[in-house]
Chain length 220, copies 2
């Protein structure tokens, strides 16, 4: 038994939330699978009351504000969160669909997987320390505790599995929110092209596109 | 006669403004050289009253709001704008310093150049149509009306000259604000390393770094 969605997003921090925003904009369904019992990731768990000064066009706000406003931004897409769920396996079947199993015995299927969480979202074999998590044990190419991706699609060494935010690494990578948002935007275009193939995806702007504005609920 | 600064930023739209924010954070001086008589670029000139829905943590704001809030965000760095100035030549002297000349007879020197503007910021030889501008005429590698850069430093084929926002192109490039902000952040680390060499630049966060917060004026 499994619930199906276009994209399974592992994690629910800012990079996961903005990825969901971009997916929703383009009519792609998603579901969050999150180890914690609430969204926000490190911003909520570690430094919710800390001021952030480098969010573009936000001279100052707190880390929790970033989370709250991103949640407000994805509200039109009616996000669904599976809290308290850590991934125990990801398997791709012959038809190309991924099956994600969780430690608490649930299963989800998806056409693409976005790893947007840290090590907390995955569980190791019994007895292994989570803190020393190595992505290579999951079959990903990676180093420095992160998964290697390309800078065009942000896809991992496993086709159909993408990684953004602190979970990913590439030349020049900085662990900044602005980078996670860019990674999410480019990745979603890659996912969109993959799901819609062979139609070519075109660039659309929220300022002018009627279809994007309808999905946001700001246009009838 | 020329005015000297660490970095000359050609353009004053959102990508230029956020590049200035990142430069200011790291104590690097900058000056804007802008063809128009005001900051904001296309956001101000073409669609200031249009709503924007894809700025992270901003469920909605206008394009002019983006500009106004970015100007507020760089105010601690006392930005200096040279308006009404289009670039007529960029020459690098033997010591590695760039000299930028403008059509109206001014000259500026800088240790690095950031191209963050469209074709309006540059002038062609007499009689050429600006609309058909080709960056290759300036010695840059480029295509589709934009300058080719790498995705680690956002440096052009001319060492010390960088390009971000709509001025640049690389595999996967999207003409989105979120991408321009990411490009600015990584580029500034490359400029910082170039100016400070051989010291290695370390990652600092606005939430926790006293030195960054002092530059922002939010800590004594």
């Amino acid at each position: 038994m499994s619930d199906t969605t276009d994209v399974a997003i592992v994690g629910a921090g800012p990079s996961a939330l903005y990825a969901a925003f971009q997916l929703g904009l383009f009519g792609i369904s998603f579901r969050f699978i999150e180890a914690s019992d609430r969204p926000g990731g490190q911003c909520t768990e570690l430094y919710g009351d800390k001021p952030v000064y480098d969010m573009p066009a936000w001279p100052t706000l707190t880390a929790q504000d970033v989370v709250d406003k991103l949640l407000q931004q994805i509200a039109p897409f009616k996000p669904h969160f599976e809290f308290g769920s850590t991934i125990s396996s990801i398997v791709r079947d012959q038809s190309g669909v991924f099956c994600l199993s969780t430690k608490n015995g649930r299963a989800f299927s998806a056409k693409a997987v976005v790893v947007a969480g840290g090590t907390g979202a995955f569980v190791a074999d019994e007895g292994r320390r989570l803190i020393a998590w190595d992505w290579r044990d999951w079959g990903f190419s990676g180093h420095h505790g992160a998964i290697e991706v390309d800078t065009e699609r942000f896809e991992t060494s496993m086709p159909g599995v993408f990684a953004i935010g602190d979970a990913c690494i590439y030349p020049g990578k900085l662990p900044l929110l602005v980078s996670a948002f860019h990674e999410a935007a480019l990745m979603v275009q890659a996912i969109r092209a993959q799901l819609a193939a062979p139609r070519r995806a075109v660039v659309e702007y929220t300022s002018t596109s009627s279809s994007l504005q309808r999905r946001l609920g700001v246009k009838d």
